[in-house]
Subunit: 338 residues, 2 copies
DNA sequence: CTGTTAGCGCTTTCAT
DNA sequence: ATGAAAGCGCTAACAG
């Protein structure tokens, strides 16, 4: 059996209270501290976090549940969160739901049972039972990439309606009129429906512009490729496509330009969302809507820590960022020539 | 204060033992089960995992510590691990070290304190104190993307020497002779030094071939771009580059072909490593060395679970996969024309 | 400043 | 089948 605090105390010739004090940095006598440290080393003692947490009632872990770690956008969010958390001695536990409500709920329940210090959450569906349960609980929650809505939770988000509007307005300003939006699954996330809403608004402002929606079963490169293959064969193709994220856009690009013979942007203009690192290096450099991903993660943890320390003022509860249009060759004849 | 098992028992009119039995699926009387479930629902009771684990001594969490979640290769490993773990009711806690030994150690210590059921680890440095500590501990460890070496840990890995050999042999067979290898930081991982070793072997087999090594401070798109910018200005450029991962290769491609005027593969041939989804959609479709990432993660958890259930035979302790050469335009005049 | 001790919430054994 | 009670390893309050 592993050594426990009692063993360390015996080995060092002190009491358990003293060992606990050393462990928690409230010991003062250098000689004692040294003896305890030596004993810990000698016995290979590792503190039992379950016992510590049970007694202390708090935890040094922060949960981060995102839609998909495979999406570099969320990887960047995680990096930002980790950086801010580490500065205060917290650890970030990452869960990836794959937009599956079952898995999302499983993670939330697990983290709730673990009594994590707080939960950072990009919900697949804010109205799901699992999400509501954690929102109703006493666990501090920061919604990430999701507006506060009716909940009392803090929120760090980017305006997706504006992003969708920026993307499609740009396509329209390039003279395109038959716009298609490629989204995720039908039971899609708030992000995607907001981007779509922004797209609709942009189209509504131009009389002869039309908008069609193509749903996929996942927001991945693979799913994008599948759509691209269909689009390539289709008789009445749209003249511009707004992909709801860069993964889909990259997949579209693969199918259209590499496997097919559709020229981008000449035959079909394309813009993605997130501006992941790969966008600039795509076969046709990909126009996109940039979001401050790392900053989002950083700010989310910052808000959570403030909440834990009760230094949260009303105006601090929500941080909204704005998306930014990045024009590259995939949507602009000018950029393509340049 | 949150409801505890005692409150549930009182509310349901049964004893705590009975509630515990219901919670753990060993209750038999349907009426009792229903009453307990109703009470749990009514009180919003959530089991305290710390107490449960303290008493039971076991945990349903598996830790996965990788070099970089921002690398789609590791994201895929995580996906595979998660899938296998979920099948047995385990949760995967993900930590990303960023190849930083301090952070790696912090994660390992944290997970050790949490008494996770097991650790899946891609070490930044197998010989670091933190890694040795967990290897010496009683926590089951599966090394991921790392051969077993001297340790007693299980291991799931891909032969990187072979991968490096495949990559550079291919460049040589295309007639290139002045090969450069772009690696990570000098205190680099085993994977990268093995890939380099394979590259050296391939070069050694061709009399007039030379090999140079370019180190970067991170294995990211950004670092690759920086190298590409230097390379582009350099008077005596190599005629072929083997990038130690696809992220570096994509960054190189950005700098060389989009920001610079180096033609790939005509002026400089390029091959990456991992065959991430983006490789096929790069500005010049990227040749790469494919690794079975998802399968790696899946198998790692499978091995861990077998170990936990004592169904591990000697020949099961190690699973070695083989890398596969994927030729695209970036390294092959033929593929570029095709 | 150090040592002793009462629980934290749960599981599980042992009576009933 | 159900209820009572003993601890899991730790922290913090209190006594020395």
């Amino acid at each position: 059996m592993a050594a426990k605090i009692k063993d360390v105390a015996a080995h060092a010739g002190v009491s358990v209270g003293t060992v606990s004090n050393v462990l928690n940095g409230r010991a003062r006598v250098p000689g004692t501290i040294d003896r305890v440290r030596t004993a810990i080393e000698a016995l290979g003692y590792v503190r039992n976090d379950a016992a510590r947490q049970l007694r202390a009632g708090r935890s040094r872990s922060i949960a981060l549940v995102v839609l998909d770690v495979g999406n570099p956008f969320f990887a960047a969010v995680a990096r930002g969160a980790e950086a801010r958390a580490a500065a205060d001695g917290y650890v970030v536990l990452l869960g990836s739901s794959g937009q599956d409500i079952k898995r999302e709920t499983a993670y939330l329940d697990q983290f709730h049972e673990q009594r994590v210090a707080g939960v950072l959450l990009t919900p697949a569906d804010v109205h799901s039972v699992g999400v509501q349960r954690v929102l109703d609980s006493s666990t501090p929650v920061v919604l990430v990439d999701e507006p506060p809505g009716a909940s009392k939770a803090c929120s760090v988000w980017v305006d997706d309606v504006e992003g969708g509007y920026l993307a499609v307005s740009h396509l329209l300003s390039e003279g395109r009129r038959r716009i298609a939006v490629v989204t995720g699954p039908s039971s899609t996330t708030r992000q995607v429906s907001d981007r779509l809403e922004g797209a609709r608004r942009a189209v509504a402002a131009v009389p002869d512009a039309t908008l069609s929606v193509i749903e996929t079963d996942a927001m991945t490169v693979l799913a994008g490729r599948a759509v691209g293959e269909r689009l390539q064969l289709s008789a009445d193709r749209p003249d511009a496509v707004f992909a709801a994220n860069d993964l889909l856009a990259v997949g579209l690009l693969q199918a259209l330009t590499l496997m097919g013979d559709v020229r981008v942007p000449e035959d079909m203009s394309l813009i993605g969302y997130d501006d992941i690192d790969f966008a600039a290096a795509a076969v046709v450099p990909l126009s996109s809507i940039r979001q401050p991903a790392t900053e989002l993660g950083w700010t989310a943890v910052d808000l959570l820590l403030r909440q834990l320390n009760d230094e949260l003022t009303a105006e601090n509860r929500e941080r909204r960022f704005r998306p930014e249009l990045v024009i590259r060759s995939s949507s602009s004849a000018a950029a393509a020539r340049g």
